[in-house]
Symmetry: C2
């Protein structure tokens, strides 16, 4: 798939893009103690939004989303899941889009395809916070990590999208953590518990957590992790393939 950079704002009638359909990504990262997501801030507007985009006529939907994420994070092979399609009429707010375009120097006519109603496919991704250098896109002046428990106000229904993505992530955590990029190749049970607690937003008893994780049969145990004091060196684990 060629990574094309056709500018949606200059494409008045959406000749290069599917119209009425967009995507938005909730990109979760784990800093070691906090769950964070990537947000964009649009130039000169004070408006914050999820990183999203549009589908070129010649590309698959899922490829469009991967392209957008690669452009903003530099990462390939991201664990990416569809989450929900948001298609209510009240997310149609052409004035907001017009404001964003104007602040970027695009004066568009009222029949511009970007001012039309959009249904958006929400995706969520988990990426290794340490490996990511967020990159703003053409319309935004920043793309930065924000603590999930301290987000700025978001445009459209993006707050609702974040909540749905978080709920989906929580529901699927046991099955999906294996394929995600949140953990290093080997990790201690305590590090894994910290991730679970950050995502679930609640503390878990150590013994309960350990029993549950071992019961799932998804962990492989390796040697002990010696960090100086030989006492209480914890085991290292990895996810079974």
């Amino acid at each position: 798939m060629a990574v094309s950079k056709k500018n949606p704002a200059k494409d008045t009638y959406g000749r290069n893009y599917l119209t009425n359909i967009a995507y938005d990504s909730v990109v979760f990262g784990f800093s070691g103690d906090k769950l964070k997501i990537l947000l964009m801030e649009y130039h000169n507007t004070g408006l914050f939004a999820l990183p999203g985009g549009f589908v070129q006529r010649t590309e698959h939907l899922n490829d469009a989303v991967r392209r957008g994420l690669k452009e903003r994070t530099g990462l390939d092979n991201i664990y990416l899941e569809q989450c929900y399609v948001f298609g209510n009429t009240d997310r149609f707010k052409p004035a907001v889009m017009k404001q964003i375009l104007k602040a970027n120097g695009y004066e568009v006519s009222n029949d511009h395809w970007l001012l039309d109603r959009f249904i958006t496919v929400a995706y969520y991704a988990l990426i290794n916070y340490a490996h990511v250098v967020p990159t703003p896109d053409a319309l935004s002046d920043s793309c930065t990590w924000y603590d999930l428990d301290n987000l700025p106000g978001l445009i459209f229904d993006h707050k609702e999208i974040v909540e749905k993505a978080l709920q989906t992530l929580r529901n699927n955590l046991d099955q999906q953590l294996v394929g995600m990029n949140l953990m290093p190749a080997k990790f201690t049970m305590k590090a894994l518990q910290t991730v679970y607690e950050a995502i679930l937003g609640t503390p878990i008893r150590r013994t309960t957590f350990q029993r549950k994780m071992l019961g799932l049969g998804i962990l492989k145990r390796h040697g002990k992790h010696f960090s100086g004091s030989a006492n209480k060196a914890p085991y290292l684990y990895s996810f079974k393939k």
Copy 2:
């Protein structure tokens, strides 16, 4: 929400509809021993498809899908879940759509919005087979139940959509059966097991099934079901609200 009947085929430029976006529904019903789905057959084409449709500019996506299902099944309050968005470029086959429209007496120009590429949001529903009188839509001459294990060939990627819906249904069965319309208000454990076996496509040991279902804590036990011979009268159950 008004149930409007704007004819998509006569709306050359999609003025009343969102373009490039459609929905398809996998409607499961249980006949007592077999899992079935609803399929439409298009007039004079031999083409079979999932019941689907388009989103009017003034309606929510989820409402559009409920409207379509009501028009085809007469049922309201259907348990309806989003399943997956199919957005590959290879589902773009304008010649097939042109053939369907032509067989219905619509000669459309090549820039008609129905001949454009569509991304489709797949939904699945479970409805009470006994309550449903399938109704064909304007373009199709039948809307009928088919055994899931004996489907005709389907257009576009509809076979793939059915498989994805079935997989989603199987994955969510324990959580979702409660809200579905497959069972009467009260039922025996044996009747419930029959549904599970039909959906999962595999026999289950009676004792294993009973232990699992009771362990889920979603069933309420009522009196025994006397059907003549007093011996071995089974208990009746209902789902807890």
